[in-house]
């Protein structure tokens, strides 16, 4: 016994030393190329822009944050776009929820295991294919002279066309459509993981005890699958609030979101690093709020 104890103690010591050594490359890489840059950006966000905009200087200022949160000013361009991003992201998440929740039940209640696997495969496959190409595919359909416009023209317009063209592209709604299209799988996956384990005898029990379908849904099924819903909510909300490609390709100026604004301030023609940095910090704050909600109410096992 004594030998075993010393041996395991010895190995624990080795593991301890070895652990630090093995984690060093990743720690340095992320420390230098991730944590440090983020800290620099946070610091710059409190500075005054230099004359060329590509840098920050003293004095320190809170102006960029004031702009971001000033929802009452006459021309509140920054706060408008921040509010719009939150709105677009929330609506997208809600639509994904309404579509994804019954869909997860549909897949989970298929009897054959192969049908279930195939149904999940059909959900996951688009999510694995190139994001840009999928967004472009949607654009070819809803473009003013796109496929949908062609079909509608053939059947007489149905009152949806203006001068034979579809006016869906470059709107906020187009961005929401594109985001739902891209992030629906993120909602289905965690909900399916919970629904798969759901015992449907609870539904029978609720019915036997006199609950109708509506009450059964609200009082039994929803509370029991809530962890999946929360996980799905966060998995859709976090990436959509920082979406860049979808609003850029489908939204035009109407559907501009925070990320596009950050990009304009860092790499656009009128560079303003401190402003871009502050917007970046606001985006991080919004995401952090989402993560806190998740850690507070979500089931960590699911995602």
């Amino acid at each position: 016994m004594a030998v075993t104890t010393t041996n395991s103690q010895y190995m624990k010591d080795r593991a301890r030393r070895q652990g630090i050594f093995l984690s060093l490359p990743a720690v340095f890489w992320l420390g230098i190329f991730f944590i440090l840059p983020v800290l620099i950006v946070l610091a710059i966000s409190f500075m005054t822009p230099t004359t060329d905009g590509a840098g920050g200087q003293l004095p320190l200022t809170l102006n960029h944050y004031a702009d971001a949160f000033d929802f009452w000013k006459a021309r509140p361009i920054y706060s408008t776009i921040i509010l719009r991003s939150i709105w677009i992201s929330l609506i997208t998440t809600l639509i994904c929820l309404v579509m994804g929740y019954p869909l997860s039940f549909f897949i989970a209640t298929r009897k054959s295991q192969y049908v279930r696997q195939f149904a999940m495969f059909l959900i996951i496959m688009p999510f694995w294919t190139n994001f840009l190409v999928r967004t472009y595919a949607l654009k070819t359909i809803i473009a003013p002279e796109g496929t949908l416009a062609g079909i509608l023209n053939a059947v007489g317009g149905l009152g949806m066309l203006v001068n034979g063209k579809l006016t869906w592209l470059n709107t906020r709604e187009a961005v929401i459509l594109g985001l739902v299209y891209s992030y629906l799988p993120f909602m289905v996956l965690p909900i399916y993981a919970v629904v798969e384990k759901f015992d449907f005898r609870f539904v029978e029990a609720a019915n036997d005890l006199g609950a109708n379908d509506w009450k059964t849904l609200l009082r039994v099924v929803l509370p029991m699958t809530a962890p999946g819903l929360v996980a799905g909510f966060i998995l859709v909300f976090i990436p959509t609030i920082g979406a860049f490609v979808t609003p850029d390709l489908l939204g035009g100026t109407q559907g501009l979101m925070i990320s596009n604004l950050i990009q304009q301030n860092i790499r656009g023609s009128g560079a303003n690093y401190p402003r871009g940095s502050a917007l970046s910090a606001v985006l991080m704050l919004l995401v952090t709020i989402g993560v806190i909600i998740y850690l507070r109410y979500g089931d960590r096992e699911v995602a």
Binding site: P25, Y136, W214, S280
Partner: protein, 305 residues
């Protein structure tokens, strides 16, 4: 107690029960509507997810230059791309070469340092472990645009400082892109490999050490073969992420280092044409093959243990 359970509850005759027929009718209506929506939902959802992709593939064979009118079947657009008569071919080939180079190098780096830190976190006990753990999850949560912008600002200042000291200005390019790709892919590699490591019984490693193998030998003869499927799927994930990345590449990209997503994005922003549809279809096919391969590897790995 037992006698009570034995005797069945007294059931009133049906004629004596005062059914609320209105309520029952309403409940049955709700059930019918629910059933209808429950069947409608998957039809709409699957159509919504797949119709754009199917339409894109079909239109890549469209003779007509527009995407709204079908003008007959043709392979022309594919032929143009593959024989090099298309205006895009040259740029596309060099972009593909850059993409593969960046993906291979960044996958190698992130897989190696990711495997090391996974073993450290799963098997090691050391001060600051929780912080390392938290830092590794940050790139997954933080929006990609924030990471990309921070890196761009960081390199700008670093290069300016470098010029101040040495008089030479370094440029953005392969190096900076690879650094950015490793940052976001290492977390995913670690998540994948740690899943595999925590499933593996640490007694195999203890047994190897008891039999006289040193750490190095234990890793290569015991741990590595057992977690290899995890390492491969982590590496494939890193590879896919690097291939598909647009945002980080855009912010760390220099002159002449355009990747395929950067090149494709430039096209997609311009116009819609069957030629771009054909290129997109090729990309779709490529990512499907990659995913199929990845699933195949994972399936084999799962069967082995």
């Amino acid at each position: 107690m037992s006698e009570q359970m034995m005797s069945p509850p007294v059931r009133p005759a049906l004629s004596e029960i005062d059914f609320n027929y209105g309520q029952i009718r309403r409940d049955m209506f709700v059930r019918r509507v629910g059933k209808f929506l429950f069947l409608l939902n998957p039809i709409v959802s699957y159509f919504f997810l797949w119709a754009p992709i199917v339409v894109l593939v079909i239109l890549s064979f469209n003779k007509n230059k527009t995407v709204s009118v079908w003008g007959g079947f043709t392979f022309d657009w594919y032929l143009e791309i593959f024989n090099g008569t298309s205006q895009f071919t040259g740029d596309m080939v060099s972009a593909l070469r850059n993409t593969l180079f960046i993906a291979v190098i960044s996958t190698l780096i992130s897989t190696i340092i990711g495997t090391m830190v996974s073993i450290a976190l799963e098997r090691g006990i050391f001060p600051g472990k929780k912080i390392v753990d938290a830092v590794l999850y940050l790139p997954v949560v933080i929006p990609e645009i924030t990471q990309a912008v921070s890196l761009a600002v960081f390199f700008k200042f670093l290069f300016d400082a470098f010029q101040g000291f040495t008089g030479r200005q370094p440029t953005l390019g392969f190096g900076t892109i690879i650094i950015g790709h490793v940052v976001f892919s290492v977390s995913f590699v670690v998540i994948t490999i740690r899943g595999r490591l925590s499933d593996m019984n640490p007694r195999y490693e203890e047994a190897a050490r008891d039999l006289g193998a040193n750490e190095w030998l234990t890793f290569w003869r015991v741990t590595f073969p057992l977690i290899l499927p995890g390492i491969i799927s982590g590496a494939l994930l890193a590879f896919t992420l690097s291939l598909d990345d647009y945002i980080v590449t855009f912010f760390t990209n220099g002159v002449g280092t355009n990747t395929l997503p950067i090149f494709v994005y430039g096209l997609l922003r311009k116009a819609i044409s069957p030629e771009i549809n054909a290129i997109s279809t090729v990309l779709l096919l490529a990512s499907m093959v990659l995913v199929g391969f990845s699933l195949f590897i994972q399936g084999r790995g799962a069967n082995r243990t």
